[in-house]
């Protein structure tokens, strides 16, 4: 039995960072016993890292469609884990998998998902309070979950994982459940990106419609290379076909949290900011001094990127030797 259940994922043989963040969120809100569902071939070995990260019980699934990441089976597994654990609070993450699995799980449990939360807490009567940024961070909404089970998903990287404590002990048990897979994956094609992955980059240089075409992205690539970073883009630049859609940062693109985010020729629409507003330092270059991006940026230059950027890069070159 547990009070909270984290719908976990495994990446590279270990609990995903979003999963460790979910465990931490449950612990911090004082939920009591925390169980984690870990589907994946490496679940047995990943379980000890989950326990060190704050879990009391780990349900593992090491083979079959759920371990392979089939969404239908994951929903079935999650539902079984909720029943088995008796958890009142179910927490997942807004990852690629969580986007599909968490809402479906919530509806199966007769409720709806409090999605994309930055904070979860409990109120005096034990109701889960989910807080999320809305309107691209221009407002913040808190809702109380009313049903007998509360289901929430956390925006990745919005809470810190706990310091691992390898002396913690916990229970590991394989989960038995029945999977009913209807939507099957026939083929998966990876479009290998070059260089640093956007999601993990410490520096991101993004371009928007203001760049005017695909060629200027070469300058952004050069700048990103200088700084060991990656190139991103606004949806306008992706939709124009200047860069592949994998570059898109924002509400419907990638969420990035680099130390430095440089936005060039991007107006700062709320949907774009939703993907980069947690960057440590945001720098904007835009010729319109009234652009919204300057409301969010730490440093701004109101000017034409064609003049600002080359000089910026030249100076940078000098500084970096």
């Amino acid at each position: 039995m547990a009070d909270a259940l984290i719908i976990g994922e495994i990446t590279d043989g270990a609990p995903a960072s979003a999963t460790l963040e979910g465990i931490a969120a449950a612990r911090r809100m004082g939920a009591g016993q925390v169980a984690v569902l870990l589907p994946g071939a490496d679940a047995a070995s990943a379980a000890s890292a989950a326990i060190a990260g704050g879990a009391d019980i780990v349900y593992t699934i090491v083979d079959g469609p759920a371990a392979d990441g089939e969404f239908d089976a994951l929903v079935d597994a999650a539902q079984a884990a909720v029943t088995l654990s008796g958890a009142r609070y179910v927490i997942g993450a807004k990852t690629l998998t969580g986007r599909d699995v968490m809402p479906r799980l919530a509806f199966r449990l007769g409720t709806a998902l409090a999605s994309d939360c930055s904070v979860v807490s409990l109120d005096d009567s034990g109701r889960l309070i989910a807080t999320r940024p809305v309107y691209g961070g221009n407002a913040e909404a808190s809702v109380a979950c009313l049903g007998s089970v509360a289901v929430a998903s956390l925006r990745p990287k919005s809470v810190d994982a706990l310091e691992p404590d390898t002396s913690r002990i916990g229970e590991v048990s394989p989960l038995a459940f029945e999977a009913n897979v209807r939507t099957r994956v026939l083929e998966r094609v990876e479009e290998a990106g070059e260089g640093v992955r956007l999601e993990n980059a410490r520096v991101v240089v993004s371009g928007g419609r203001g760049l005017g075409g695909p060629e200027p992205f070469d300058s952004l690539r050069e700048l990103a290379n200088m700084l060991g970073g990656a190139v991103g883009a606004s949806r306008a630049a992706c939709d124009a076909g200047w860069v592949p859609s994998g570059y898109q940062v924002g509400l419907t693109g990638k969420t990035v949290t680099p130390d430095l985010y440089i936005a060039v020729g991007i107006s700062g629409a709320s949907q774009h900011m939703a993907g980069c507003s947690n960057s440590r330092t945001l720098v904007a270059i835009n010729k319109d001094a009234g652009a919204n991006i300057f409301k969010e940026a730490r440093f701004g230059v109101a000017g034409d990127w064609q003049k600002v950027l080359p000089a910026f890069m030249e100076q940078l070159h000098e500084l970096m030797g």
């Binding site: 599909d100 209807r182 130390d259 230059v301 000017g303 600002v308 910026f312």
Partner: protein, 264 residues
């Protein structure tokens, strides 16, 4: 046999509304002035996907379902002008857009059941601004149908639907048996513009209107959430504008300033 495709379309605030037009006060978000609503952009893509299937399939019918309290008819008729066959408005005071997708899911589910012969539901991947992307998944779960999300290509063949899904770094093809629910994304391509003939035809169509009573809903689906607070977050950012003799000079000063702050 006629393939019956339902497209769900939501009337939303124009997402291009400048942020400065939004007011957050008294636990509500309002907009200044009279900003006309639009059909949720992804839902226009859903219409486009349905029309492409209809063209490929020949014998198909496209019904648009929209749920809300009141509609701007010229706005919500756009899918008809694009080429959809029928429009059913689920209109009732109980269908107020709220923090809770429960009611929209219940209403759309009931309407799809009432239509009876639906093979495929196509929805936008999400409604603008909230990034909830729950309603179509909820409808699929309520109906017990298969689901595939974020498609950029949707094909129907021999009682199955094949969807090319957009992934962050690539794509995958999935297949599901009909009936099924599919959501589509902007990668599907620009939706067609209504032509003059479509617009004239749409003008003549009277939408069917179904209320809570028509849908056999008791109108009191138990809510999942209660709003506790809605407020403007404290803005921590102090923007420092870097200026110089000219744009190039400002660029150089920016590099120096970032170095000074140890950002670089």
């Amino acid at each position: 046999m006629t393939l019956h495709i339902v497209v769900t379309a939501k009337q939303v605030l124009d997402p291009e509304t400048p942020l400065s037009a939004f007011n957050v006060a008294d636990n509500a978000v309002s907009t200044a002035g009279n900003i006309p609503p639009v059909v949720n952009g992804y839902d226009e893509q859903a219409v486009e996907a349905a029309l492409r299937i209809k063209e490929a399939h020949g014998d198909a019918k496209v019904t648009v379902l929209s749920c809300g309290t009141d509609f701007a008819l010229d706005v919500i008729k756009k899918p008809l002008a694009m080429g959809a066959d029928e429009l059913v408005l689920l209109q009732d005071a109980a269908f107020e857009n709220s923090i809770d997708p429960t009611m929209a899911v219940a209403a759309l589910t009931a309407a799809i059941r009432k239509l009876g012969d639906v093979d495929l539901v196509i929805s936008g991947r999400q409604a603008s601004d909230w990034d909830n992307a729950q309603v179509p998944l909820g409808v699929a779960e309520s109906l017990g149908w298969a689901v595939a999300t974020i498609g950029r290509k949707v094909d129907v063949q021999d009682g199955t639907v094949r969807v090319e899904r957009v992934l962050p770094d690539g794509h995958e093809t999935v297949e599901a048996p009909l009936p099924a629910v599919v959501t589509v994304s902007n990668e599907l391509g620009t939706p067609r513009y209504p032509n003059m003939r479509g617009i004239m035809a749409a003008r003549r169509v009277q939408p069917t209107v179904w209320t809570v009573a028509d849908l056999d809903l008791d109108g009191t689906a138990s809510p999942a959430f209660e709003l506790v607070s809605l407020k403007k977050p404290e803005r921590a950012v102090q923007t420092e504008m870097i200026t110089g003799d000219d744009d190039a000079d400002a660029g150089r000063k920016l590099a120096l300033r970032l170095r000074e702050e140890r950002v670089l």
